[in-house]
């Protein structure tokens, strides 16, 4: 009894002796540096967004969304063509990139023999492709479009090809991660019942991975929607005064229209560009919000 008491007392003393090493100078300096880095990044971003919003504030009106661009009446210029063009290109990009990306990822993850050198080669180069500058994809798209015999420049389909190439590695990589997160037990359970590899992938693995795939795909698209460089390469016009009406229609995109507006001398156009930047940001945030919503809603713990 007394022995046990003595042991307990000694342990209490040991535990409370000295100050926590988590609070010594080096730890505090390190923690401070981390906080500074975090705050610096957020502050710069906030200042950027706020100044842009303040500058664009006079033009937060419907005309900004519903009117075409105008040099003659710069205070009434609108980004209708750019917004619609971006929406068209995004839809076409998704239609091209999503099936291709998911199929490629499923093949690599479920069917390809990872021991073979060519599959490993493809894997390594997927990572490399994700890091290629976006303008290079524009060049690729130009070459591809020429190859299939489309002479006209700046079409929705060309833009979609460029952006689809751009986000394909992102979609493949995120899909592979989502597929890999499906537990092996599910696949084994299916195979042990006499299902084929294909049935297992189609009926078990893919449905279970859909939330992850959707999230990755949307994040890829939200990256593509802000791209200007590849669209410039394929010869996308900036001053368009009609709605795109198909894949073979000419178009302009919101980032391009913003770019051309900011390079004009009229003050009103610059203000309108600032307002359009906020519109673009809202579109991107909405896409990212959708991705987060899907992830949280369908997230599964195994």
């Amino acid at each position: 009894m007394s022995a046990a008491y003595a042991t307990a007392a000694r342990e209490t003393v040991t535990l409370s002796a000295g100050r926590s090493r988590d609070k010594d100078l080096r730890s505090l300096v390190f923690l401070g540096a981390l906080w500074f880095s975090l705050l610096f990044g957020i502050l710069v971003l906030l200042v950027l967004i706020l100044t842009t919003a303040v500058k664009g504030a006079p033009r937060f009106d419907m005309a900004l969304l519903t009117d075409y661009s105008s040099q003659l009446f710069p205070e009434r210029t609108g980004f209708r063509a750019g917004i619609l063009g971006s929406v068209w290109v995004m839809l076409a990009t998704a239609a091209l990139a999503v099936p291709l990306g998911i199929a490629a990822a499923l093949h690599l993850e479920e069917f390809a023999d990872g021991q073979k050198w060519w599959n490993r080669f493809i894997e390594v180069n997927l990572q490399n492709l994700a890091a290629v500058p976006s303008i290079v994809y524009g060049l690729l798209a130009v070459a591809f479009v020429e190859l299939v015999g489309i002479r006209e420049r700046g079409l929705v389909i060309s833009g979609a090809i460029a952006l689809a190439l751009l986000i394909l590695p992102v979609i493949i990589i995120t899909t592979r991660e989502a597929v890999r997160a499906v537990p092996r037990e599910i696949r084994e359970g299916s195979l042990a019942l006499g299902a084929t590899q294909w049935q297992t992938t189609w009926r078990q693995t893919l449905p279970a991975a859909v939330p992850g795939i959707a999230t990755g795909t949307i994040l890829g698209l939200s990256r593509a929607i802000g791209e200007a460089a590849p669209l410039l390469m394929i010869g996308t016009a900036t001053a368009i005064r009609f709605d795109p009406n198909g894949l073979m229609s000419q178009f302009t995109a919101l980032p391009l229209q913003i770019y051309s507006s900011t390079s004009q001398s009229q003050e009103a156009l610059q203000v309108a560009a600032s307002a359009a930047i906020i519109v673009l940001l809202v579109m991107i945030l909405a896409l990212n919000g959708l991705a987060i919503y899907i992830r949280n809603k369908f997230q599964r713990t195994w």
């Binding site: 195979l191 019942l193 449905p207």
Partner: protein, 305 residues
């Protein structure tokens, strides 16, 4: 129903050859179902459903299992026991070619099912698995409804089912799960307890009407009550199926199995890799009361492993 369509006909479950059901308990009364008769067995299975003949398994250069010979009798429960890393799970997974899924896995020797080598060139592993089902260590229901979990096997294998509802009910009743889930068949299988999930996995396996059921430590993730229910279930399933079970739990092997195979791991002198080998295969009663190999005795008396 043969491994290669149009070549063999294999007795399938109770369909072909009616298994002898000597004194089967009266169905319908649970308390009687839980009492199972003591069996007297011949020394070797007279009519083995499956046999392993000089089975060697390699993972790449690693020799995992050395020269195993086993015979699995019809309507018997065979337990594979032994310390960790002795290759018992590897042997089990060879019996329905689940080891094919492990990259670099290679099998030498033969595994026969009704006399046919399931590793022969023309054999389709998918067909093998429809005859030889498997239940895993961790309950692994699909993220679907209870109903769809059961219906999945018959659907993917293209089984002709006139009445899927009846098949689902029959499978769940066989797995002693029907009364607990009959009102929530459309609910997710993930809402079930671990023991119920494992019985669901057994029901799912039964639904494809296999001949042999392999169980890889089916109770190791379950509490004692759920374990007792699964063991009970195994004993009643024995009347219709041939069951092969890997277990870490020697009491479990003693309680449920008719025959027991004891494996051990033999370290390689040069590489230190441990190769599994079969030490003794006999009737469970003999293994536990009068083992012929001292290593078996050491293991079951708790001196080793």
């Amino acid at each position: 129903m043969s491994l290669r369509p149009g070549t063999f006909t294999v007795p399938q479950g109770t369909g072909g050859v009616a298994p002898p059901v000597p004194s089967s308990p009266t169905p319908g009364r649970l308390e009687e179902v839980t009492e199972h008769e003591e069996r007297t067995l011949p020394d070797l299975p007279p009519d083995p459903v499956m046999e392993a003949l000089d089975l060697n398994v390699f993972y790449g250069d690693f020799h995992a299992v050395h020269k195993v010979n086993l015979a699995f009798g019809r309507n018997e429960i065979t337990a594979l026991i032994g310390p960790s890393g002795c290759g018992k799970s590897t042997v089990l997974r060879c019996l329905n070619r689940m080891n094919d899924l492990v990259p670099g896995a290679r099998v030498e020797g033969e595994v026969t099912y009704h006399g046919q080598d399931i590793y022969a060139k023309h054999v389709d592993p998918i067909a093998v698995r429809t005859h030889i089902g498997m239940v895993f260590q961790k309950p692994n229901p699909f993220p679907k409804s209870i109903y769809d979990n059961i219906a999945y096997g018959p659907r993917v294998t293209g089984m002709k089912v006139d009445d899927m509802d009846a098949l689902v009910e029959r499978s769940l009743r066989h797995a002693a799960l029907w009364d607990e889930v009959k009102d929530k068949l459309k609910q997710s299988a993930y809402g079930l307890s671990g023991g119920q999930q494992q019985r669901l996995c057994i029901a799912r396996t039964i639904a494809t009407q296999p001949d042999v059921i392999l169980m890889d430590e089916p109770c190791s993730a379950l509490d004692p009550i759920a374990t007792a229910r699964i063991e009970d279930l195994m004993l009643s399933l024995r009347e219709e199926y041939t069951i092969i079970i890997v277990t870490h739990n020697m009491q479990q092997a003693a309680r449920v199995s008719d025959r027991t195979a004891f494996f051990t791991a033999m370290p390689d002198e040069t590489t230190g890799n441990r190769t599994g080998l079969l030490v003794e295969f006999n009737q469970t009663a003999k293994i536990f009361s009068n083992p012929s190999d001292p290593r078996t005795e050491d293991y079951i008396s708790g001196r080793f492993g």
